[in-house]
């Protein structure tokens, strides 16, 4: 072999080596591709699909909340949101067109966020370190702000529609409506209860997009249009709600109360016409200051809190007594101010006693002794039967979140003392909605209706056609008493207002039935001194009630807390407003039963013209005798209590009678303030013994006295 041949052999050998090396490398490459494309493929594909897929949620417009007549109570307004698409921003940054800092700096003054906060969002990453494809910078900015950002033409900054919840009436109906969170989901009240209906179905755009978020043409882009939320029509009547809130606001100030609540219900359907608590909050700004403090303000106490009803519960005890036929009109109840039960002396709120009363009178007087007697006659089994029938201790299942059960003692732990206490309303806690549902059953001839706030669910399509999705049909829950018993009880309740403790809710020409209740508050298991809950339960018109009302004042000013002089007059105003609103004319037959009494005012020495005005205000008619311009004397004597529209006689002369005797008026049931006013107008002197409302006086009503005579009046704290 020549050296040339040897060289050639070496060269050829080297070429073969080279082939082997290249084949080895290519083999590694084939393996690597097999690994990436077969083994690693599922994972990579998933990431790639994530990268291509633009899954954008398109928020549906939240439905409105309307009152029963279609007035908007909660609406969703159009605002805008700002999102940042990172790919575009990063590209712009890479090409040195802009920095993230510059973007943040430009956005900051428009949206009112600090530059640092915006930067933090722009630099956000997924937990696995991969960058986000997009990030939300801010939501719910005004259109004006959005347009300003649009003008900046920032790369990757996209402005789209967003929705915001508005409550056009501010605090109005706040506790019922509730509010929504940052994502637009309900988190309290009706907004929470009917969140699914209201929020609609978010739309979705799911499609493959290129690196600039434009759709790729391959697969069918999956676009699902958002389905706007349904509108919720409440049973609430905006006008009635307004009447109620007005009185509650007044009461909160006037009686210096801690809080005050009321519900108005249609007993025939169970529809809640109004429901309010004061103080309340503005759902447009549900969180102000401390978050947990704010959340406390959202409580709809009428449904979410229990209270001890006190004497308003006597209505239900009375219903049980009538239905069980354990009481007759001939029965007489004697109250000496207390009753011995087992080994305990239990006082009536009127320590001096109510004397001998019939069944109607024990309700009118709210006599605890009378109701202890009823409790004993019923026994705990029957009393509890009615507690259960009327739904105490159980949720009413009203369509509102967070309803309380109420608290009733287990029957086996009820002894004789507790039995009689419960009979007059102590030792049992209910929610206002529970109580009102029970009262509504009395109003609705014994048929208990399911209380509810939802009237209809409406859907308005893209073309603006509105259809009813759902309609709430009134639901009879059960017959808790006979219609006859209910009517009988209502007749008595009407007298409670016309002649009894509920007098201040008396409305001329209308049949209003009601019951007062003033309970001492139980705090940490003991009755708290000076802390009361004054409630007034009522229905009207009593013969065929169209609405029932419970109004409850929590911790009114201890100087004037008596239900009859706080909750009753507020309720009266509400009832009057509702009657006027509904155009219900006064009922002539009601006049006959009206036992409205007036005290003849001191008008001696006045001219006829002056007297005419005063008498007209007091609803008194008159005739004149004699000649002259000055009233010489009056018959009956000023201070005498007569029925309204009584014709009194004015004796005219040239001067007034030197004999200035007046008749002692009946101060019973009046508050100190009212007694003072009356005494002053008649010019007589009074002194007091005790505190509360008048229960007896040193001189009998009608006694003629000189103006200088002082009358001593005994006051008692009514705790009926």
């Amino acid at each position: 072999m020549s050296s040339n041949q040897k060289t050639n052999m070496l060269v050829k050998k080297r070429v073969v080596y080279m082939l082997l090396i290249i084949l080895a490398v290519q083999f590694v490459i084939m393996l690597r591709y097999a690994w990436v494309q077969i083994v690693w493929s599922p994972q990579l594909q998933k990431w790639a699909v994530e990268q291509w897929t633009n899954d954008t949620k398109i928020d549906a417009k939240r439905g409105k909340i309307l009152d029963r007549n279609g007035s908007p109570l909660a609406v969703s307004g159009n605002v805008e949101r700002v999102d940042a698409f990172m790919k575009d921003i990063n590209e712009a940054v890479k090409n040195k067109k802009i920095t993230k800092e510059e973007i943040a700096e430009k956005l900051s003054p428009i949206i009112g966020m600090t530059k640092e906060a915006i930067l933090k969002k722009l630099n956000k990453r997924l937990p696995n370190g991969l960058p986000l494809s997009s990030v939300t910078i801010i939501r719910r900015i005004e259109k004006e702000q959005g347009n300003k950002i649009r003008e900046l033409k920032l790369p990757g900054i996209v402005i789209t529609e967003d929705t915001k919840r508005y409550y056009p009436n501010g605090n109005f109906l706040a506790h019922v409506l509730g509010n929504t969170n940052i994502d637009g989901d309900g988190r309290a009240g009706i907004e929470l209860q009917y969140n699914e209906e209201l929020k609609g179905t978010p739309g979705r755009f799911m499609g493959e997009t290129d690196a600039y978020h434009r759709e790729m043409p391959y697969s069918m882009a999956n676009y699902v249009a958002p389905k706007n939320g349904n509108d919720i029509v409440l049973t609430i009547d905006q006008s009635i709600q307004y009447f109620v809130e007005k009185q509650l606001e007044r009461g909160l100030v006037e009686y210096k109360a801690k809080q005050i609540s009321a519900i108005v219900m249609d007993p025939k359907t169970g529809e809640i016409l109004a429901m309010a608590n004061k103080p309340d909050y503005d759902p447009n700004n549900p969180v102000t200051g401390d978050v947990s403090e704010s959340i406390k303000k959202w409580r709809n106490r009428a449904v979410n809190d229990v209270f001890e009803p006190g004497s308003v519960l006597k209505v239900i005890t009375a219903a049980a007594a009538i239905e069980e036929n354990i009481v007759s009109d001939e029965d007489r109840f004697v109250c000496h101010g207390s009753k011995k039960v087992a080994d305990r002396i239990i006082h009536c709120w009127k320590r001096t006693g109510h004397g001998t009363q019939n069944f109607a009178q024990i309700l009118q007087n709210s006599c605890n002794v009378g109701f202890m007697e009823l409790g004993e006659r019923l026994g705990k089994e029957k009393l509890y039967k009615y507690w259960n029938l009327f739904g105490f201790g159980k949720k009413t299942n009203i369509d509102f979140p967070g309803e309380e059960n109420g608290i009733i003692r287990p029957i086996e732990r009820v002894n004789k003392v507790e039995l009689v206490n419960q009979a007059f309303g102590q030792g049992i806690s209910v929610t206002m909605i529970q109580y009102l549902t029970a009262l509504a059953a009395v109003a609705n001839d014994g048929k208990m209706m399911q209380p509810h706030l939802l009237k209809q669910v409406l859907y308005t399509d893209e073309n603006g056609n509105t259809s009813i999705v759902k309609e709430y049909k009134p639901k009879v829950l059960k017959q808790v008493m006979s219609a006859e018993s209910a009517r009988k009880l209502r007749a008595i309740l009407e007298t409670v207002v016309s002649v009894g403790a509920g007098k201040k809710a008396y409305l001329e020409g209308y049949h209003v039935g009601g019951k007062t209740g003033t309970a001492q508050k139980v705090i940490n298991g003991v009755y708290a001194n000076g802390k009361y809950i004054s409630s007034f339960a009522s229905m009207a018109p009593c013969s065929n009630p169209e609405f029932v009302i419970i109004l409850s004042i929590d911790e009114p000013d201890p100087s004037n807390y008596y239900s009859g002089s706080t909750a009753a007059p507020l309720t009266k105003q509400i009832i009057e407003d509702i009657f006027r609103y509904r155009n219900i004319p006064p009922d002539a037959t009601a006049n006959k039963e009206a036992v409205r009494e007036v005290v003849i005012p001191e008008i001696r020495g006045l001219t006829v013209e002056e007297a005419n005005k005063i008498l007209r205000n007091n609803k008194l008619n008159f005739e004149t005798q004699g000649n002259g311009s000055i009233i010489y004397d009056v018959s009956p004597t000023p201070g005498v209590t007569v029925r309204e529209n009584t014709k009194i006689t004015l004796y005219l002369g040239m001067d007034k009678n030197k004999n200035e005797k007046v008749a002692v008026p009946n101060f019973t049931g009046m508050t100190k303030k009212e007694i003072n006013e009356l005494a002053k107008s008649l010019g007589i002197k009074v002194s007091y013994l005790g505190d509360g409302i008048g229960v007896s006086q040193s001189l009998q009503p009608g006694t003629e006295i000189d103006k200088s005579t002082e009358i001593e009046i005994i006051l008692e704290q009514p705790e009926d």
Binding site: K12, R14, L19, Y33, Q37, D210, A211
Partner: protein, 369 residues
Amino acid sequence: MSKKRGPIDFPLFITILILLSIGVVMVFSASMVEDYKIYNDTYYHLKKQILWAFLGIFAMMFMANFDYRKLRNKKILVFGMLITIALLIIVLFMPARKGATRWIGIGGASIQPSELAKMMLIIYLSDNIVRKGEKIKSFTKGVLPVLIIASFFALLIILEPNMSTTVIIMAVAFSLLFVGGAKIQQLAGIVLLGVAVAAVGIIIEPYRMRRLTGFIDPFKDPLDTGYQAIQSLYALGSGGLFGMGLGQSRQKWHYIPEAQNDFIFSIICEELGYIGALFVIILFVVLVWRGLKIAVTSRDKFGTLVAAGITSLMAVQSSINFLVVASFMPVTGVPLPLISYGGSSLVFTMALLGILLNISRYTVKNGVE
């Protein structure tokens, strides 16, 4: 030496044409989206590639009929080398594109002098080594001069800068030394030296370091250094075994920019799957096998060296491209021969393959002494 010429190596010829066809189709598929966006013409790159492909075929046919032994003509060698060096210097003063001065614009087209450099270096070094004969076994008289010439080219190219072509040129020179019969010990020493130089180069240039770390864990910085690697892996992964179908790539929708260039193989993997990828890799294996077979059977050492040089160039370029696309190497801009949208580089590649085909006509089998 016989003047008698045999037929060209048919399997090689077919392989080249298949690869070229795949290239034209895939350039179209990979570029259409961006072309539509940028030029409002879906066929922008397709039309150009077809034109370049015909120019390439013309260059290949020309070289296939041009007796390679005439390349050893002194005038050709000297003139060719001088032109190459001149162009390599001129290119440094050309306006930069994407931060590098690699192109010289001539009319509407532009050529890369580095492509010419590869060709001239293979021819010149092959001739040089043949002339050296047994002296190649000497370091100072054999290996070192070769390295100096190659390094001179490499230096000019590194100034552009064009790191990957520098590496390729050095690799080809090394292959020629290896095939030419240089001593293994000396070659091993050169490899160690190369590794050391590379290490220093990486350490002094922070961007190279970042590239390297980006390659080791592309997901660490997915938006910057890892971006291309990740996007390429996404393409491979979503292609899976059978691919998404021709034309169905999602990654070409701006996720992989200029997909018709260095990352065209990603799109092939995505659209045609592992099956398609394997087919292309195997075609390159066939190309290498035929090329080296031609080298072995060449009747003169010059033919052997030129054939081995051309084949190693194809092997090195394709391997680097495959490795980069599969994230087995730091990202460097190496086009896939015959497939990537090429312009002048395609023509030069085809011309080189033409030379290879020409050599195949003078193999032992094809003629008698």
